[in-house]
């Protein structure tokens, strides 16, 4: 899994640089620049939201609510460099709120649910088809849910905002850095158990 797996045509510029550049241009009156901002940040927001265990449909709703909130509140973003962090924080809060609400919903028996679900391959099943990805995916699957969530959010953030992460993941601010290191170590251990790496 390396550079060759990246989406074709992806710019060298990080989504964060693209986002702040587009945001500044838009604020200076370039109406089309907001499309660049949306294109750069939507995939990042998707992964951040999915880290909270939302299904694809709910994840799409939360990403949409994030953009609508952005349209409403963009003037409150004082530092254009912070637009990506602002969006990510907003998406995380939306995802966390959604998953809290979803937990309050009535649980359904797996057997009942199975019949109602589309017969599609899960992301996990697809990953298993690829040997290398299978080892990495297996290693990630073997760590606890909190680790998985933290790693996915952190992997898609340039500069993690530990203050707000701590509230949503219910961890003290000071323990996020060490927890991240421990979670990565767990993945590494699982990988080495699963084969050479």
């Amino acid at each position: 899994m390396s550079e060759d797996r990246r989406t074709e045509g992806q710019s060298d510029l990080s989504p964060w640089d693209m986002a702040s550049g587009a945001f500044i241009a838009w604020r200076q009156g370039d109406a089309g620049a907001v499309d660049e901002l949306v294109a750069a940040m939507t995939p990042v927001l998707w992964h951040v939201v999915r880290a909270y265990g939302l299904d694809r449909e709910a994840a799409e709703d939360v990403v949409q609510a994030t953009w609508l909130g952005f349209v409403r509140l963009h003037r409150t973003i004082e530092d254009p460099q912070a637009v990506a962090s602002w969006l990510i924080t907003s998406a995380r809060r939306g995802a966390a709120a959604h998953s809290r609400t979803a937990r309050r919903a009535t649980p359904v028996q797996d057997e009942t649910l199975h019949a109602a679900l589309p017969d599609a391959e899960s992301a996990e099943a697809l990953a298993v088809l690829d040997d290398e990805a299978s080892r990495l995916w297996g290693a990630v699957a073997s760590v606890d849910e909190r680790c998985r969530k933290l790693l996915r959010v952190v992997a898609f953030m340039d500069r993690p905002d530990y203050q707000s992460l701590s509230q949503e993941l219910d961890m003290p601010v000071g323990s996020i850095g060490p927890t991240r290191a421990r979670c990565l170590a767990k993945v590494r251990t699982a990988l080495s158990r699963g084969g050479e790496r």
Partner: protein, 153 residues
């Protein structure tokens, strides 16, 4: 393990999630449409510069040889008249169909200076400012902001 190897593993994880749990193919297009449909065009309507005394020196009928007179229109039908002279930016909002008291006018320069003021009851404003470089006007009312392009002074 070093911070470097942690970062490398995070990159691998990011690639894995990107590859095996990609956003729906039309998500970006949908979100662009969502943002465009959220009244954004209205909020960022442009004030179009239709008259600039720098382009038509013969039109300086007020006899103020030193002043720069700019006239903008907005698609909604109202317009903004502005005059820059001797450390003052003065102007008037014309044909505005709304509460003039709720309107705020902002004058910005590309070097980051900005001045904001309210209008009086007939739509006049005056700001003590001597902007240099390029200037832009923004008119805010309710939740809308209408900006002009940058005008070189």
């Amino acid at each position: 393990m070093t911070a470097e190897s942690d970062a490398a593993l995070l990159v691998e994880l990011r690639d894995m999630w990107t590859t095996y749990d990609p956003p729906p193919p039309d998500l970006v297009a949908t979100m662009i449409a969502v943002v465009a449909a959220a009244d954004l065009d209205d909020e960022w309507e442009m004030l179009v510069l239709v008259r600039d005394s720098a382009d038509e020196p013969a039109a300086q009928v007020r006899g103020l040889g030193t002043s720069r007179i700019l006239y903008f229109t907005a698609a909604e039908g109202w317009s903004l008249d502005a005059e820059l002279d001797e450390g003052q930016v003065r102007g008037q909002l014309l044909d505005f169909d709304g509460d003039l008291r709720s309107v705020e006018v902002e004058v910005e320069t590309t070097d980051g200076q900005s001045w904001t003021t309210d209008l009086d009851e007939v739509g006049f404003f005056a700001i003590a400012a001597e902007p240099t470089g390029s200037i832009r006007f923004t008119v805010r009312y309710r939740r809308k902001a209408v900006s002009s392009r940058w005008v070189e002074l």
